[in-house]
Amino acid sequence: MAKLAKRTFDAVVVGAGGAGLRAALQLSEAGLKTAVLSKVFPTRSHTVAAQGGVSASLGNSEPDHWHWHMYDTVKGSDWLGDQDAIEFMCRAAPQAVIELEHFGMPFDRNDDGTIYQRPFGGHMSNFGEKPVRRACAAADRTGHAMLHALYQRNVRANTQFFVEWMALDMIRDAEGKVLGVIAMEMETAEIVIFQAKATLFATGGAGRIYYSSTNAFINTGDGLGMAARAGIPLEDMEFWQFHPTGVAGAGVLITEGVRGEGGILRNASGERFMERYAPVAKDLASRDVVSRAMVTEINEGRGCGAGKDHVLLDITHLDPEVIKHRLPGIREISIKFAGVDPIKAPIPVVPTCHYQMGGIPTNYHGEVVVPDGAGNHVVVPGFYAAGEVACASVHGANRLGTNSLLDLLVFGKSAGDSLIKYVKGEVRSMPEIPQSEIDRTLARVDRLNNQTNGVEVNDARLAMQRTMQAHCGVFRFKDMLKQGVEKILEVEKMVQKTQIKDKSKVFNTARIEALELDNLIEVAKATMISAEARTESRGAHVRDDAPDTPATPNGRDDANWLKHTLWHREGNKLEYKPVNLTPLTVETIELKARSY
């Protein structure tokens, strides 16, 4: 029986992006002995990529209100978001942003010293009337500045960082309580138990399941894979946001802030086509609406370029000084990845996989909640999740831009608070770690190390990415999804036989990538299977076979599908749970067809 070295903590946080750092800060400041594990140095977490900003109804430039923000978020979610969680987040937003300012975040400012706010897709005043300035940014380095401020605070609060450690699996006891994680130190390949009174996942998204993605290579959905293998269902995984403006070919993102500052989308004949799809919000309509419009233009032959496979984002009419000062990184991106200077010519763009709305099911306290088999949803003792890995669910079927960074701050903190209460109030002892849990992980690693006549990791990953891209992209078709399910289950068989030639111990990237692929494939299966089953269109999940009728506007079928999906790894079983339509203090935001 294999024995592993063990370290013990009050709390283990897996992930050092915005959500993990915000949570850890809460824990350490409450005096909990807290370990944070990260595959990379914390300030290199993917949160660093966020440029656009973080939303809060501060009302610094014009009147704004959290209730309007809530309305926009519910509408943006296509009513799949839980209204209790959304109210909680939008009400907490101003305080969360001001707290971050006090942590040293260098926000852009107005002349009067208040935080500068810019408009962003989907953010409107007075319950959807007209665009409002709600996004707070630190130049084009919002994510970096956030990570930096939070990391410094954590160091001061004595959070213990385990950098270049990869969590492999979570540990549960026979009753399902979570006892920590098993992790590998990349430097030595040593596998160690991190036992904790409570465990919090903040491992970010899994955007690399798609071939064309704005996500960095690190976004491999490890938290989702670990949870799925431990019997935790994944919620609403069919909902992936495709960012309207990825640079055609490379995937690199052009922030929505560009349209906020006046950028316009045009088709092959130069037409500003968004005027037809969203007469009020136009280019600033919500992301799924813009992506769908772009794909429609392309599908109907009005795409640009030799392959007619993209549209153009035009900022040539803007003052070059505005471009240089308000959108500094954009010009470089465009020149390097599209070969175009946006001051002189428009940028070729296509909708590109960007953000995962689904994840580990939680409530707005950041507690993980699962069905108990008797029709109830119960918390998993000792398990919390926040950030992109979690599904609270505030983003529902479609996230509004800048609401993710807000989600990290608000739910990082609330998950932290719930965890503290649990550890201080309920945990009496550190139980034995079941040997079966250790064996489960070691068997997986041993299989990989000993595999012969297997499949190359790159081949399996590419097969997965191409399958997802072709069968489960922006527009979804019944037959393609059906085939997609079969194909992804075939790909799973490839993943079960991955092999690595290099068996060395120190920073063996081949081994790490193979272990990451074990996680990606769980997410891919969850996505494809959940998408195939949901026979309506809602938010980012758009099906060709969902008819637009008065009873099902835009294909949205509230009578049958106003519910969250839960995918179980065991047997690929699906079940559903109701959407929470009851906010905490205000009235329900009633169902309406979505138009911008």
Partner: protein
């Protein structure tokens, strides 16, 4: 530089920004193995920079004050201009 050290640098070339991943993965594939020991050290130091600063340098938006970085950045920039998909 031994293989273990090289592997460490390979992992540290994984960044938080897709733009850098695209450049570094091409560089790792085509040039990395032929670096001299002195060049490996320079590359290692370069990887210590924050992602945004590194991207600005690789994009040629800023210039490094550190003389040692200049030739390495020039090599990285050449991969940046390559629009091949990874």
């Amino acid at each position: 530089m031994d293989e273990a050290e090289k592997n460490r640098l390979r992992w540290r070339s994984r960044r938080g920004l897709l733009e850098l991943d695209l450049v570094f993965s091409r560089f790792l594939q085509h040039e990395f193995d032929s670096l001299s020991d002195a060049e490996f050290e320079i590359y290692q130091d370069l990887l210590l920079l924050p992602d945004n600063d590194l991207l600005d340098l690789v994009d040629g938006k800023t210039e490094s004050k550190d003389e040692r970085f200049v030739p390495m950045l020039a090599r990285l920039r050449s991969w940046n201009n390559d629009k091949k998909q990874q």
